[in-house]
């Protein structure tokens, strides 16, 4: 047993924490939300220079990391800072899929900071990874894609999308899903900001792509998507953990400073106990993230069981932490201006990607019975 980080990861964590503390500010986050794409280009450049996209990818795919604990260390720090970045989309999702498919050139570009988004979810798919209704039909020299993708995070900042489309099978069959590289200017985007920072887009597809756009084997993408999704869920859970840590310290600081009835409100036992509960639950969250990150390289059965366990626990604890922190702050916790709001909203939104608390509870029951 050893729960310490390796020296390299420790250095990564320290360097990243310093960099983010100096470069991520509430004003920056707000300004970024208001620009056209929701991308902080300077921050992204800095993180690319630090090698973050490459750290998400294993050596055999051209990266220099990609282990579960690389993901944990990086995303916990991003969460702690409240940073809004496309790292999940471009490196963990698109990079992971392209790497597995042996697309070394594109992976190289991603490591250099190129933005690729993963357009998978659809208006009617909710959290079901297998439910793909976008279709790809063979044409003379390539493919024609038609369909709609929903809430594609960081799509407008990307120049390319990895798009899942059905090349055979029913709407919910695991077999028959394929992946295609589609230039962003070949699709229609409706861009919008999302709660907790950054932008997403609705994507309408009615475009032709060449044969070379097919990523990996036709119809066999589902297991790849599930693997990439597991890593993305781990990244997001680690980010949630970082968000919780910051929310905790903001709240503890506030309980010490804020005075009502002639004393700091942190002297009221009613709040002390709840703060203590919050701390206990955040430690549970940390252990759950460790469990998942430690099993990302396991076989599909074990890995997915941990995805569902961790995602369920993070969903529950995230809700508790966000709601309790706002409540214990009183009115100030309700404002856009004070830092807590951003962290609380970003944490709340964790439950709206990669499957929510109930989705994973049900899935955990199914997987653990198997």
């Amino acid at each position: 047993m050893d729960f310490k980080l390796t020296e390299e990861r420790q250095m990564l964590q320290d360097g990243l924490r310093r960099y983010l503390a100096a470069n991520v500010t509430p004003e920056g986050i707000r300004q970024t939300d208001e620009n056209g794409t929701g991308l902080d280009t300077a921050l992204w450049q800095g993180l690319t220079d630090m090698g973050l996209p490459g750290a998400m990818l294993p050596e055999e795919h051209g990266g220099f990391g990609g282990g579960g604990f690389d993901i944990m260390v990086v995303f916990e720090e991003l969460g702690r800072a409240g940073a809004v970045t496309p790292l999940i989309e471009t490196a963990v999702l698109a990079g992971g899929l392209l790497g597995e498919a042996g697309r070394t050139e594109e992976v190289g570009d991603i490591i250099d900071g190129r933005l690729v988004a993963f357009a998978h979810g659809e208006p009617a798919s909710r959290y079901d990874l297998n439910r793909v209704q976008t279709r790809a039909e063979r044409t003379g020299d390539g493919w024609h894609l038609t369909g709609r993708k929903a809430v594609v995070h960081h799509a407008s900042a990307a120049d390319t999308l990895v798009v899942s489309a059905r090349t055979s099978g029913d709407a919910d069959a695991e077999a028959g899903i394929s992946l295609f590289l589609v230039p962003a200017d070949a699709v229609q985007l409706r861009d919008y900001p999302v709660y907790g920072g950054g932008h997403a887009a609705e994507v309408a597809l009615d475009c032709s792509v060449p044969a070379a756009a097919l990523v990996a084997e036709e119809g066999k993408a589902f297991p790849m998507i599930e693997r990439a999704n597991a890593r993305a869920a781990a990244a997001q859970c680690a980010e949630a953990l970082g968000l919780m840590e910051t929310i905790k310290s903001l709240t503890v600081d506030y309980l010490r400073q804020r005075r009502q009835f002639g004393q700091p409100i942190g002297k009221f036992q009613a709040l002390q106990h709840r703060m203590a509960d919050m701390l206990i639950e955040i430690e549970q969250a940390r252990s759950a993230v460790i469990n998942l990150c430690g099993h990302l390289a396991s076989g599909a059965g074990e890995r997915e069981l941990h995805v569902s366990a961790t995602k369920n626990l993070i969903g529950r604890v995230g809700k508790l932490v966000a709601e309790e922190a706002i409540q214990m702050h009183g009115g100030i916790g309700m404002t856009q201006e004070y830092a807590l709001g951003h962290f609380a909203k970003r944490l709340t939104m964790v439950d709206h990607r990669f499957g929510d608390t109930d989705f994973h509870l049900e899935r955990f029951i199914r997987l653990s019975a198997a």
């Binding site: 959290y127 709660y195 009835f261 002639g262 706002i326 409540q327």
Partner: protein, 398 residues
């Protein structure tokens, strides 16, 4: 025990329904049911319609132009109007200031202000809270110093709901530093267009500029705007709070929210079936519905006691806690129900006349917005922690 309304009460309910069918503009109920933001004009329009029918002063006695209704009728009215998605009656003039003036105001104040509240001539906002006076309201520091026939007011109020629309504000101000903090507070009516007042919006986490900071720099207020006696304002403030807490349970809102939640969960598909047929989700909805059924009766029990002449005391604290928690649970389930479409933060699409298209199903944006916005329910009007203090002191005598 009889859980049914009397014939007379049922008749009243039918009368309210018929009125709403006829008079509630579909444009307004549509906005309310779709979670769109109401404008100042929307509120004024609805107030005027109610006033024309004599139903605006819901809690007011007949002699002041009110309905004279008992607690049961008020409850029926509240339930029917929320069910029909009518705009809410803004509480500041009607539920808060009105009753204070009736009880403690001078004859001149009553005859001047009360009709203006009903007619919509004045839009009042509530200037209680300050940066340093939240739960500890008695700590107000905004000062009013007497100078001839005026007070000179200096200080800051905050969290002033819809203060941007108001032309009047009723304030708790400090007129004395002697004795206990409660003993030096006065209740003052102030014109928002007086020189020296500055209103700055505060945007909430859902993007809505719903509350404000109000700054006072040497604001001259005629002494005739003092309500009751100098340094007795705390008594009036507390009296107002008991009125603020009527209908605190929000049963009608919870019921309307539950209906919307079931509609969303009936339309959202997960694993090939409606979310509402998913036992995990259905169990949560059922749980909150069961709580709501019981709370509705707790609420009626309090109302029945109140119409028998017992003043609602610490029971209202109980209703506030349970009522707000239930509403927040419903909001959280609705947010959960919309799935990935909870993420879009396109707050302008809820604005009147905005040409920004919503994203996803029509119920998605309002679901997230209401979830974040209604975190306030357990904070304002005396936080749920403060209500627990009241219960443990006043009922449990701990």
């Amino acid at each position: 025990m009889d859980l049914n309304f009397t014939d007379e009460q049922t008749g009243f309910r039918d009368e309210v329904r018929a009125f709403l069918d006829r008079e509630l503009p579909p444009r307004l109920s549509e906005k309310v049911s779709r979670g769109k933001r109401l404008t100042k004009a929307d509120y004024e329009e609805w107030h005027a319609i109610l006033n024309a029918r004599g139903w605006l002063g819901v809690t007011w006695p007949k002699e002041h132009g009110g309905t004279g209704w008992d607690a049961v009728r008020r409850h029926i009215f509240e339930e029917e109007t929320t069910r029909a998605h009518a705009p809410r009656i803004l509480p500041f003039g009607l539920a808060m200031l009105g009753p204070v003036l009736m009880k403690f105001g001078s004859d001149a104040q009553k005859s001047h202000y009360l009709p203006r509240i009903l007619n919509g001539d004045d839009w009042w906002c509530q200037g209680y809270s300050e940066p340093g006076a939240g739960s500890d309201l008695a700590n107000v520091q905004t000062t009013a110093e007497r100078s001839g026939d005026h007070y000179i007011v200096n200080g800051q109020k905050t969290w002033t709901t819809l203060g941007q629309y108001a032309n009047k504000i009723f304030c708790l101000v400090r007129t004395s530093r002697e004795g206990k903090p409660q003993q030096g507070i006065s209740f003052l009516l102030i014109d928002m267009d007086s020189p020296g007042i500055e209103v700055r919006p505060i945007v909430l986490i859902d993007g809505e500029p719903e509350v404000n900071e109000v700054w006072f720099t040497n604001v001259k207020v005629p002494v005739s705007n003092l309500v009751g006696e100098e340094n007795r304002g705390w008594t009036y403030a507390k009296y107002l709070l008991t009125h603020e807490r009527t209908n605190i349970a929000g049963v009608g809102y919870a019921q309307a929210g539950l209906t919307t939640l079931k509609r969303i969960a009936g339309e959202q598909m997960q694993g090939g079936a409606p979310l509402m047929s998913n036992p995990f989700f259905a169990a949560k909805v059922a749980q909150v519905e069961i709580d709501l059924m019981a709370m509705a009766t707790t609420n009626l029990r309090t109302i029945a006691a109140a119409s028998n002449g017992q003043a609602p005391g610490a029971e209202s604290s109980m209703l506030k806690i349970k009522g707000t928690v239930i509403r927040q649970q419903i909001n959280a389930l609705a947010r959960q129900a919309v799935g990935p479409y909870a993420a879009p933060f396109v707050s302008e699409a809820l604005e009147d006349g905005s040409n920004v298209e919503p994203v996803g199903p029509d119920y998605a944006l309002p679901a997230s917005q209401a979830y974040f916005n209604n975190r306030k329910l357990s904070i304002y009007g005396g936080s749920n922690e403060v209500q627990r203090q009241i219960i443990s002191k006043a009922i449990l005598e701990l």
